[in-house]
């Protein structure tokens, strides 16, 4: 199995990129938080941010690899040659990707103001100062604050300027020789 990790802060475009890779190269596509969503679905609880964050408690009870083990099980079950994994937020999640013999990590980056702008366009934040304050506060949360450090360990760093065609072109340039030699 070839595992491609896509790291990116909120709103940087990692899910957009992952979806493109998955479509273009016919790969599997999973996010780390998917497991938490699966649990909330089974518990018939709203998949809200609050409920998702509460599940981080599982790491304290079962160890920090709980999410990784669950995800690896899902990947095995999928049985696809190439998998794209997004939502990498902790070092052990990156280490897990590196533990696969064939792996590659892409960091998608965008300036903080740009990310906030795109999130606003998606309706995630209000167009006032309280929205931006909230966004900045969330950037410092445990689940978000390590992303830049992790990004620095990536094999490729791609700047997302907002031009999707450009973003996809740069990504295809990297992946085509590797996935379709």
């Amino acid at each position: 199995m070839f595992v491609i990790g896509v790291i990116g802060s909120k709103g940087a475009g990692k899910d957009t990129l992952a979806a493109h890779i998955s479509k273009s190269f016919h790969t599997g596509h999973h996010s780390h938080s998917e497991i938490y969503h699966d649990i909330l679905k089974i518990l018939k609880l709203p998949e809200s941010r609050v409920n998702l964050i509460k599940l981080v408690e599982l790491r304290k009870t079962f160890g920090e690899n709980i999410l990784i083990n669950a995800l690896n099980k899902k990947l095995r079950k999928d049985n696809k040659e190439v998998q794209v994994l997004t939502g990498i937020r902790f070092q052990n999640e990156l280490d897990n990707i590196r533990s696969y013999e064939k792996n590659l990590v892409i960091y998608i980056d965008a300036p903080i103001e740009q990310r906030f702008k795109w999130l606003k366009e998606r309706g995630k934040y209000n167009d006032d100062s309280s929205g931006y304050d909230e966004f900045l506060r969330l950037e410092t949360e445990e689940t978000e604050k390590h992303i830049q450090d992790l990004g620095e360990q990536a094999d490729y760093i791609i700047q997302n300027t907002g031009d999707l065609a450009e973003l996809f072109r740069k990504t295809d340039e990297i992946l085509k020789p590797i996935l379709k030699p």
Binding site: I42, K44, I66
Partner: protein, 182 residues
Amino acid sequence: MESQKIIIGVAGKTFSGKTLASDFLVSRFSARHIRISKLIERLLEILALEDTLENKQKLSSVLKSIYGNGVLMHALLDSTEHNDKLLFVFDGLRNMEELQELKEHGQCTLIYIECSTEKRLERFSKQQNKIVSEKDLQDFDQSQEDNQIETLKQYSDFTINNDGTEAQLENELTRCIVQSLG
């Protein structure tokens, strides 16, 4: 006229015979069997955790601590909404909060299955394929957090003693259901 769902809660310590009781109610009264433990088992599978008693308890505990004691019941009750059956047997209630969730949902009858320590020891030994002591049973009860289960007895609508035969148990259960539906 909207049909009302009827919920039968079955509680009892392990080896009291509550699963047998639940199975009987399901087959005799065409009820849907809701095994509370099945929900935890499904979650363990998703989390790639081994299906052990310890993991079941840890998972159950942590979910209750973050979402409240009624979290499992809430999920199970939700599944009754989309089911045509009128009668549901909730097998394996463990505490007051779970009973409360059921009562808040609608008509609910709680049946508590009890039996003597001797009978439980007999069944425990059979399962373990060796003679177990009362101490073994006590340790097992503690690991099951059975102390909370016992408090349900005082809130039960019916308490059935299961020291007798299977036929006797079935007769008693039938009597309870007929009485509560009447």
